[in-house]
């Protein structure tokens, strides 16, 4: 196989009568004992956006990796433009015009955009001619599809949305006719996602075929022409998007009826349980991340903090949980000011009646090498046994109770936590923190990497806590989640609370503007942070300043 070359390499002959870009017939793939793809059939029409939905582990990514030549199928046939091909590696797939934008970008961070784009598709042993050609080609792609990017920028300095654009350009540069996007919006702000969808529509207009893998049903409804649903390694059904509904898709994905909307009654706020005043927190590199933040959470209400990841929410959570020292301000739980500095801050916070479900369960919530029963008491181990002894029988009893109550599957006490699915791991953490009957519960990303069925369960548990009169602080990058669970929404941007919204009335555009610091009425004017901007051009400059890394694109 010669190196794929956008200008002169031979496209396979098109079967003129065939309207199908890709056909997968009887695909099977095993990973050890796991049957990841079971007899999959899939036909994708040329010039359409085809969605593939399914829960984590349904086999979507595996199937696409087979099409892209990253894995080889155990059996089955792949037809591209009606012609059967045994796709042996990614280079082969690229030569057939199949490009993939991976969920985790396959970019070299310290390379320039240009270097990343030509990597693996160089024309000759010397780089210069290729780089010059790619530069011209990029200009043309930018013109055709609105994919503007500075070719000499270093990738690690780009925003996530821009990095994704580089991935798309990489595929187009290699002459991709079919573009596979794996969970492309998981890391994007709403505005960035909109921009991506505009690009995808443009690509479709130009005759490209797009395969979109996602678990967000709203996106499927918004952009796809057809949608295929996968469940536990099998292809359940392919539907015309216009003939289906999110409810139907969710049911097909999970195999039972799922309530997509959280059902909750009105909040009944009582006295203030969590009171944060003028809190200042810095990150590990001594950069201030939380800047004079004050808010209160009352008994019986859920306060959601919305914001683009990296605007201080993580530091705020960790500080309240006692894991991060404060530079200033106070945190009171139930009227008592917590002194949380020092190494045992987390323990003191817990003793004061605060429970914490950390954002990253694998890094902070669990020790994945420990068994389920050990993780179920982690942080509360002092309550089991006295002195040096650990009352294992009692701990296992507690764990059994938790697993039953939270429907953790498999209900195996001795299974290593690493071997549970994301949803079940999260349930173990939630059970441990919720069942201690805290006054204040702070929850970070409760459903990150969790299946739709488990999401429903987790949301209901959080509502139940609220109705039991607890004060709940919720941080999530999923705006939908914040909107459906919260009774009040606080928007965080660049370490400040820049606005408060009522979830019943707030509209997404307005929240999006707040989240990116570009809402005209709520400009951060504190000296030394962001300059005031009145005209659109100044606004753009603010968004491009390095301070505002995550929210750079709001066009």
């Amino acid at each position: 196989m010669t190196s794929p070359n956008p200008s002169d390499h031979q496209r396979p002959e098109r079967a003129a009568d065939s309207s199908l870009a890709i056909e997968l017939i009887g695909i099977n793939k095993h990973f050890g004992p796991v049957h990841a793809n079971r007899d999959i059939n899939l036909a994708i029409k040329r010039g359409t956006v085809h969605g593939i939905v399914g829960e984590n582990g349904a086999g979507k990514s595996t199937l696409m990796s087979i099409l892209y030549g990253f894995y080889t199928a155990d059996s089955g046939e792949i037809r591209v433009n009606g012609v059967p091909h045994a796709i042996t590696d990614s280079r082969h797939a690229l030569a057939l015009g199949i490009g993939m934008v991976h969920q985790h970008f396959m970019l070299v961070d310290n390379f320039t955009v240009l270097e990343n784009i030509v990597l693996g598709a160089e024309d000759s042993a010397l780089l210069r001619p290729t780089l010059n050609k790619a530069r011209e080609h990029l200009k043309q792609l930018a013109r055709d599809y609105g994919l503007e990017i500075n070719p000499d920028a270093i990738v690690e300095n780009l925003s996530v949305g821009q990095q994704q654009r580089v991935e798309i350009l990489k595929a187009l540069y290699r002459g991709a006719e079919t573009l596979i996007l794996d969970e492309p919006t998981g890391v994007l702000t709403p505005a960035e996602a909109d921009h991506l969808f505009r690009i995808l529509r443009k690509l479709r207009e130009e005759g490209k075929t797009i395969i979109l893998i996602t678990h967000k049903l709203r996106e499927i409804m918004a952009i796809t022409d057809e949608v295929s649903v996968m469940r536990q390694g099998t292809m359940v059904q392919t539907l015309n998007t216009s003939d289906t509904s999110p409810e139907q898709l969710a049911e097909l994905m999970v195999g039972r009826r799922v309530l997509l909307r959280v059902e909750k009654g009105p909040a009944n706020p009582g006295k203030v349980l969590l009171d944060v005043k003028d809190l200042i927190v810095s990150d590990d590199f001594k950069v201030p991340r939380v800047k004079n933040v004050s808010f209160q959470v009352r008994a019986g209400e859920i306060v959601g903090i919305a914001g683009v990841a990296g605007n201080g929410q993580s530091e705020l959570l960790e500080s309240i949980a006692g894991m991060r020292d404060q530079l200033g301000g106070t945190i009171s739980v139930n009227g008592n000011v917590l002194s949380l500095d020092g190494d045992d801050g987390a323990k003191r916070a817990r003793d004061a009646g605060l429970a914490h479900v950390p954002e990253d369960r694998l890094r902070m919530g669990l020790i994945t090498n420990f068994a389920a029963w050990e993780n179920a008491i982690l942080g509360y181990q002092d309550k089991y046994g006295s002195g040096l002894g650990l009352d294992i029988a009692k701990a296992r009893e507690t764990a059994t109770e938790y697993m039953k109550k939270f429907d953790v599957r498999p209900a195996s006490l001795d299974l290593k936590t690493a071997n549970f699915s994301g949803g079940n791991q999260q349930k173990i953490v939630l059970a441990r923190e919720m069942e201690r009957d805290p006054d204040v519960l702070i929850v970070g990303q409760p459903t990150r990497g969790v299946d739709i069925g488990a999401i429903e369960f987790i949301h209901n548990q959080i509502i139940k806590m609220r109705d039991a009169g607890k004060a709940i602080l919720l941080v999530s990058v999923e705006l939908d989640e914040i909107r459906s669970l919260s009774d009040r929404i606080l928007v965080m941007f660049d370490g400040h609370i820049v606005g408060e919204a009522d979830p019943a009335t707030a509209d997404e555009t307005e929240l999006g503007l707040l989240m990116t610091g570009s809402h005209p009425d709520r400009v951060v004017t504190e000296p030394g942070t962001l300059p005031e901007h009145e005209t659109p051009i100044q606004q753009t400059l603010v968004q491009m300043s390095p301070k505002n890394n995550a929210g750079r694109e709001t066009n």
């Binding site: 892209y68 280079r91 797939a93 991976h102 961070d109 693996g120």
Partner: protein, 324 residues
């Protein structure tokens, strides 16, 4: 004044000689670490290369065959390292340390059983060594003050490996930053998945890097035993492989700075030779051991405080696994 220039020229001349094995080992390490493979085993390869070169030169009478043998020995060691760390995804530091032990033991053992001189190979002379090359007009220009002296003493009169080492630096920079191979090599050390998804074999690229590493460090080993010295003796690499690694970090994995750092270590070594036994005001005579320790002490100080943040290639030391 005249004397100072002569002294300085002499010190720089010996700096050059002492820096050569460091430069070669450092560039060798650069290729493998840029490809994502940590090579603690440089020291062992240097030693094995030195022994193989001296033994072969002594037996065959040809320095060139000795050089080939030195490269060959380093290639075998690199092959083992590659097998352990690329194919079997083992721990690269452990594989490297094991190779260092293997080299130290094997060279002494084989040297003793083959030549029966307590680990030394026979003294080499004539064609069994790489001898100094006198560049054109060196003798004619010798009498010209300063420039002629510098040309005669510093530029001319080195053996071929020395010239090779200095040419290898810009060549490495060119390969790394101007060629397709260099682009891929740097990419595989930063994010091998990007290489894999581009349809290029990670394994093959990493082996290619290891081969270049072996060739360079093998030549460095041969330099020690059949160019700089006239024969092999026990543990003659004397930690140069480790210093080369330190230099690599100090140079932040870039060829140009690597040359400068290696020259600096060479210079310290040269100064160390010259000030041995000399009386200093106030301090008096400094013990030889203290002076000999200077380059090593400097390494520690530099690494501890003055390097700043040296960011290694991101995938360095991590075996690449494709499956999920």
């Amino acid at each position: 004044m005249e004397q100072l220039i002569v002294d300085l020229t002499l010190i720089l001349d010996s700096t050059t000689r002492l820096a050569v094995p460091l430069i070669l080992a450092c560039l060798a390490g650069l290729y493998s670490e840029r490809a994502g493979i940590v090579d603690i085993g440089l020291e062992g390869k240097l030693l094995a290369g030195a022994f193989a070169a001296a033994a072969t030169a002594a037996v065959t009478g040809s320095a060139w065959l000795g050089l080939l043998a030195g490269i060959g020995a380093a290639l075998v060691f690199s092959g083992i390292h590659g097998l352990a760390s690329i194919n079997f995804k083992g721990n690269q530091a452990i594989s490297g340390v094991a190779l260092n032990f293997l080299a130290a033991g094997l060279t002494t053992f084989l040297g003793q059983s083959w030549f029966k001189r307590g680990g030394y190979t026979p003294q080499l002379s004539g064609d069994r060594r790489f001898n100094p090359i006198t560049l054109p007009f060196a003798n004619e220009l010798r009498e010209v003050p300063i420039i002629g002296q510098i040309y005669y003493e510093l530029i001319s009169g080195h053996n071929i490996i020395t010239y090779f080492a200095f040419i290898a630096v810009p060549v490495t920079a060119w390969v790394l930053f101007r060629t397709r191979f260099g682009l891929r090599l740097r990419a595989v050390g930063e994010n091998p998945k990007a290489i894999d998804t581009a349809g290029i074999s990670v394994t093959r690229l990493r082996y290619q890097a290891l081969i270049i590493t072996a060739v360079l460090v093998g030549i460095g080993g041969a330099y020690l035993s059949i160019a700089q010295s006239a024969g092999f003796n026990n543990n003659m690499s004397a930690g140069r492989g480790y210093i080369a690694l330190a230099a690599l970090i100090f140079a932040k994995w870039r060829p140009g700075p690597a040359l400068l750092v290696c020259l600096m270590f060479g210079f310290l070594d040269a100064v160390q030779f010259r000030i041995q036994g000399q009386e200093f005001p106030i301090i008096g005579e400094v013990p030889v051991q203290a002076i000999q320790a200077l380059p090593y002490i400097l390494t520690v100080i530099l690494l501890a405080g003055f390097v700043g943040r040296a960011v290694a290639p991101k995938a360095s030391g991590i075996p690449y696994t494709k499956e999920r």
